[in-house]
């Protein structure tokens, strides 16, 4: 059972790492773009949310699978 939990932890950790770096870059560009042309701010913000959802996709799939592993698979394996 311990290996299942560690697998879930690796999934969560690496996914969070990728998502955080990606979001940081995206947010930085948004701020830069807004500073350059403040009148585009609402449109840029809308597109940022869209891209945020896309960036989050695979890490959140990983979170879903990790939760499944921790709460459904792990209690059933060994222990």
């Amino acid at each position: 059972m311990e290996l299942v939990i560690i697998a879930a932890a690796i999934m969560l950790g690496l996914g969070a790492l990728g998502a955080a770096i990606g979001m940081g870059l995206l947010g930085g560009r948004l701020l830069e773009g807004t500073a350059r042309q403040p009148e585009l701010a609402p449109m840029l913000q809308g597109k940022m949310f869209l891209l945020a959802g896309l960036i989050d996709a695979v890490p959140i799939i990983g979170v879903g699978i990790a939760m499944y592993l921790i709460f459904v698979v792990a209690p059933g394996v060994g222990a």
Binding site: M1, F49, L50, A52, G53, L54, D56, A57, V58, I60, I61, G62, V63, G64, I65, M67, Y68, F71, V72, A74, P75, A79
Partner: protein, 309 residues
């Protein structure tokens, strides 16, 4: 692993109970069923029945149906059709009020987005986008209903399992993504023709040489191109379906985990209440965003399918 808290509450069983869909399927003959009182029954022939646990649901195989996901998603689709259709039929061209205003805002919003993103000519796309947006939003909205409320009510009617959020069921989300995928392929072939479509898959990104001695390399390049393009093509519906599923499943899982706190005394219960409210407010953003992303990606994929150079 210790699963009992004070009072003998089994957290793992509670969580797993809330993650199990109401499954209707065929148990094969010879399957041994264990009732709650420990009474064993070996089935003589294939029985069509509701599953009494996740092992039974797994034993039912591919032909099993998640009755609760189907019922809630159909029901919400009917609600959408009745609501929007009713408003459309009674629409007046004066200043809109109340419900008509709300519906017009949504239709205008979807119309703007489709106009921005879709560069083909197809009267199906905007209604499809509206349906996807509102239907996925309604399905996700079910996640805000308290975790135990509907399952407990259904238990009074003798229904053992109930998951009211259809988009936490990967069957539902991947089914919708499959529908979008079929439309993508259909319109690709209809607009571009089979030959151009096949060429698009096999001649990008490495153009195979057609003259000279390098033509011997062409089959290799075509195989490489096909592999990469087909992977890219299949990644679209998979990521579409799994993105929605992952977001909703993780959100629902956190709701269930917070509601486990209610069993640990009133201090934890109060804290859990605040956590639920906070997470639910954050989840409102996730719900709308995921519905919007599903719609935008559908329109973008269909626009790519209609690209006629």
């Amino acid at each position: 692993m210790a699963t009992e808290t004070e009072g003998g509450f089994d957290t793992t069983a509670y969580i797993q109970h809330h993650l199990q869909n109401l499954t209707f399927g065929k148990l094969p003959a010879g399957y041994e069923r264990t009732g709650e009182d420990g009474h064993h029954e070996v089935l003589e022939h294939d029985t069509w029945t509701m599953a009494h646990g996740s092992e039974e649901a797994a034993a039912m195989g591919f032909t099993a149906i998640h009755v609760d996901s189907l019922a809630w998603s159909f029901g919400l689709g009917i609600v959408f059709c009745l609501l929007f259709g009713g408003v459309a039929r009674k629409a007046s061209s004066g200043i809109p009020a109340g419900l008509q205003n709300f519906v017009e805002i949504i239709v205008g919003f979807v119309d703007n987005n489709v106009r921005d993103m879709f560069h083909g000519r197809n009267p199906l796309v905007a209604p499809l986008a509206l349906t996807i947006f509102v239907w996925v939003f309604l399905m996700n909205l079910m996640d805000l209903v308290p975790v135990d409320l509907v399952p407990e009510i259904m238990l009074l009617f003798g229904v053992e399992y109930q998951k009211i959020v259809p988009s936490t069921d990967p069957n539902v989300t991947l089914g919708m993504a499959l529908g979008v995928f079929i439309l993508m392929i259909f319109y690709s072939i209809k607009v571009k023709g089979v030959v151009a479509f096949a060429k698009e898959l096999s001649c990008q990104p490495f153009a195979p040489p057609t003259k000279g001695p390098a033509i011997l390399l062409a089959p290799v390049l075509i195989a490489v191109n096909l592999f990469m393009e087909i992977v890219g093509l299949l990644a679209k519906p998979f990521s579409l379906g799994l993105r929605l599923f992952g977001n909703m499943y993780a959100g629902e899982m956190i709701f269930i985990l917070i509601s486990v706190m209610y069993m640990a005394g009133w201090v934890f219960g109060l804290f859990g209440g605040f956590l639920q409210i906070g997470w639910a407010i954050f989840h409102i953003l996730v719900i709308t965003l995921q519905a919007f992303i599903f719609m935008v990606l559908t329109v973008v994929y269909l626009s790519m399918a209609h690209e006629d150079h």
